[in-house]
Symmetry: C2
Subunit: 214 residues, 2 copies
């Protein structure tokens, strides 16, 4: 929108040059481009013309297909609960899943954390409210129920907060030590925190001790 950020179309369009005259393909391409733009520049920082330009299409199509800029934003940020995949795992596998997700986080600058996408686009009260609702339902209720033990809801929320912060720092800040640390060493530290928050029952055996890594 400011004219400085260009050449992102290659990232967003994601398919070959011959996609013309296909409504579903254009819709999908618009959604992809919108997710990328909204995530990177926020709601106010993204113009409808930017999104359409990424796809190589006129801005008016956004209104034909989605109705309004806000509807497109809600469509993109609301598609599928953000935190949902965590709950597909059996309880014992949650630490493994968390580690895999955090270690697998893209370390280049082109990725934007989906939670940050919403948080970044403030003023969008509906999206923030939905984020809050998602968070509470997934962590405070469902994950807590599966965790069990005392203060399960509190522990679940604290675990979520830790995960969110770690993920955010890994993908957005990318500080030197975290970026250069080998996966196995980093994983030991991650697991020690997970175990602390989840309680010993959720971990699968040994208790890694901070300070005796490597």
């Amino acid at each position: 929108m400011t004219g400085v950020q260009n050449g992102e179309a290659s990232k967003a369009v994601a398919d070959g040059p011959a996609r013309r005259r296909s409504a579903t393909a254009t819709r999908a391409a618009l959604r992809t481009a919108a997710a990328f733009r909204f995530g990177k520049y926020g709601y106010e920082g993204t113009s409808v013309r930017d999104i359409a330009g990424d796809v190589g299409v006129d801005a008016a199509l956004v209104y034909r297909y989605f109705g309004s800029k806000e509807a497109l934003f809600n469509d993109v940020t609301g598609a599928g609960k953000i935190f949902e995949p965590l709950l597909q795992e059996p309880v014992e596998a949650i630490p493994d899943w968390l580690c895999a997700m955090l270690l697998g986080a893209p370390k280049d600058g082109d990725f934007t954390h989906p939670v940050l996408s919403v948080l970044r686009s403030s003023g969008r009260d509906e999206a923030v409210a939905r984020l809050r609702a998602d968070f509470s339902e997934v962590f405070s209720t469902r994950l807590a129920a599966r965790l069990g033990g005392p203060d399960a809801d509190l522990r679940a929320e604290l675990l979520a907060a830790w995960m969110l912060g770690t993920s955010l720092v890994l993908t957005e800040i990318r500080p030197p030590a975290l970026r250069s640390a080998p996966d196995d060493k980093l994983e030991k530290y991650l697991r020690s925190v997970i175990e602390t928050l989840l309680g010993p029952t959720a971990c699968d055996g040994v208790t890694p001790q901070v300070g005796e890594v490597d």
Copy 2:
């Protein structure tokens, strides 16, 4: 900017009705209002007229006093390193300081986490770069040096990530269990994580065990 958010002037102007004809007072009021707006709505979500309107002054004054909207933003987000206060504490007091800071986080919606203020205003590459630099200098370098032990830089960054995530969830998401938990119970959980990341040497005595709180 959208015209929906009004009546925030009382929060930002912060001084009595008789402040006219004082350049320094007006400058300060503009800065306060700008910090509030930028924090809550992001850079693109805030207009110069919004800020000036909060102070009850014409938008042209922003340009007289700060030169441009971007200069005002940099002035506001760059004043004082965001993470600096942490380093003023002696090493042994860091857990106490962290707990106090997290427990003292405002739980109403009018506060915006300063880190989120910057993250929310993306596209402002200079501000994001400064955030990154601040983070690395404070945590990866200076805090790590004071922590000592193996992987001090890594542990410092992980601690910072945890702190950021917890602070963010406390102030922005405000999930039910975290909001209603009594301070002393919450503190026990916080300390157990801090101890895990900082190592036993940094904690002052007993080892609180998750699961036997209350």
